[in-house]
């Protein structure tokens, strides 16, 4: 039950993009077409799950054990950068189709703040290993959900007749605002 709560909170009520504002750059950058949005979403789910597992193990079994938690940020960012690199090499060797499908989205994930945010929240909320894993998967799915909804809306928006000043980024931000209002409707569901 506890795990289900963490999962639903990460996907809907405390969505990374619309509630914590994590991963806004890719959210604004790659949400103009459905196809790329899905590709990016899949890559993020994959890397988030891995990050949750690896950073949990490193934080609890190396940093805490040797009294080095002040190295948290430096360690996390290096772990994420190397993880993305390893995943990229691994995919290129063993699954060229998936590698081609994800394309340039894989390296871009390193600078996606939602990944580092995930690792930080996990430490802050003192999740155990399984909770951290579920949190990672949930956050990834939540990100993908919002990204694909946004891409769907923006594909339609491309045909709209907007005032010149609002074209591009401003209307995307305002759409995101309205989407965030809609997601507030879920907030009665659970409290974290």
């Amino acid at each position: 039950m506890e795990l289900l709560l963490i999962f639903v909170a990460a996907v809907l009520t405390n969505n990374f993009v619309l509630h914590y504002f994590l991963g806004i750059c890719p959210f604004l950058g790659v949400s103009s077409r459905m196809e790329t949005a899905v590709g990016m979403g899949l890559a993020v789910i994959f890397v988030m799950t891995l990050t949750a597992t690896v950073t949990w193990l490193i934080y609890h079994h190396i940093l805490v054990r040797f009294g080095l938690p002040f190295l948290e940020y430096v360690t996390f960012i290096l772990v994420i950068a190397s993880l993305v690199q390893i995943v990229e090499m691994f995919l290129r060797r063993f699954s060229p189709e998936l590698y081609r499908a994800l394309g340039i989205y894989l390296p871009l994930i390193t600078t996606n703040c939602s990944i580092l945010g995930l690792a930080l929240f996990m430490v802050l909320r003192e999740y155990d290993f399984i909770e951290g894993l579920v949190f990672g998967i949930g956050a990834g799915i939540g990100f993908t959900l919002v990204l694909t909804i946004m891409a769907g809306i923006r594909e339609e928006l491309a045909f709209a007749d907007l005032p010149r000043a609002f074209r591009g980024a401003p209307i995307t931000l305002i759409t995101a605002g309205i989407l965030a209002l809609a997601f507030m409707g879920f907030s009665g569901l659970i409290r974290v």
């Binding site: 430096v74 960012i77 290096l78 980024a169």
Partner: protein, 198 residues
């Protein structure tokens, strides 16, 4: 390399290359912490500190760092200064540190800090790099304080905790995440309109 007068390196960060309004970089902290003018200002100052220190170090060691590992090197330098800023805030200003929460460590992945190293500090002498960092930092502080003031004003009728409009009926939505997106959307549209009338 540009031969612009030195003060131009500072001034361009305020408008021409303003990270928020013109370049749309570093959105996450911008939207998340601007629930009040004070939070926006503290976040802007912390980020400017990290940006300037990183630019200083990067411009000094720019000839020693091999091209292949430069991104990793820059990132580690940024993470080091973020740790410094975070521990300083925790020790001296625990209230602000608490309000900003995990967004202080998230300065590490603020894309325009890495961006300035890549396009400026790694290619220019130390003096100009520091001016550039201070300029972009000031532009960021300006954007965050403005956004924070508008949200605080509409959300509670106050700016920096001082009552501005007596008897204001608070628009709760401005303090919530949706208000951040809406305010920034309208601000960027306004900046586009101003830019076009030039």
């Amino acid at each position: 390399m540009s031969r612009r007068p030195w003060y131009q390196e500072y001034l361009k960060g305020l408008w021409e290359e303003n990270p928020i309004f013109r370049m749309l970089l570093g959105m996450c902290p911008t939207l998340a912490v601007t629930t009040s003018a004070l939070n926006g200002l503290s976040m802007g100052l912390a980020t400017t500190f990290v940006l300037t220190s990183t630019s200083l170090v990067v411009s000094i060691i720019r000839k020693l760092v091999p091209g292949q590992v430069r991104i990793a090197t820059f990132t580690v330098i940024i993470a080091t200064f973020v740790t410094v800023a975070d521990l300083f805030l925790k020790a001296k200003f625990p209230a602000i540190s608490k309000a900003l929460g995990p967004y202080v460590p998230l300065i590490v992945v603020n894309c325009f800090i890495l961006g300035r190293q890549e396009v400026f500090a790694s290619k220019n002498p130390t003096g100009r790099s520091i001016l550039d960092a201070l300029g972009v930092g000031s532009g960021f502080i300006f954007a965050l304080t403005l956004l924070g003031s508008i949200r605080e004003l509409l959300g509670s009728g106050e700016v920096f905790g001082h009552e501005v409009i007596p008897g204001w009926h608070p628009w709760v939505v401005m303090i919530l995440p949706a208000g951040a997106f809406l305010t920034l959307g309208f601000l960027v549209a306004a900046m586009n309109a101003i830019e076009r009338t030039k």
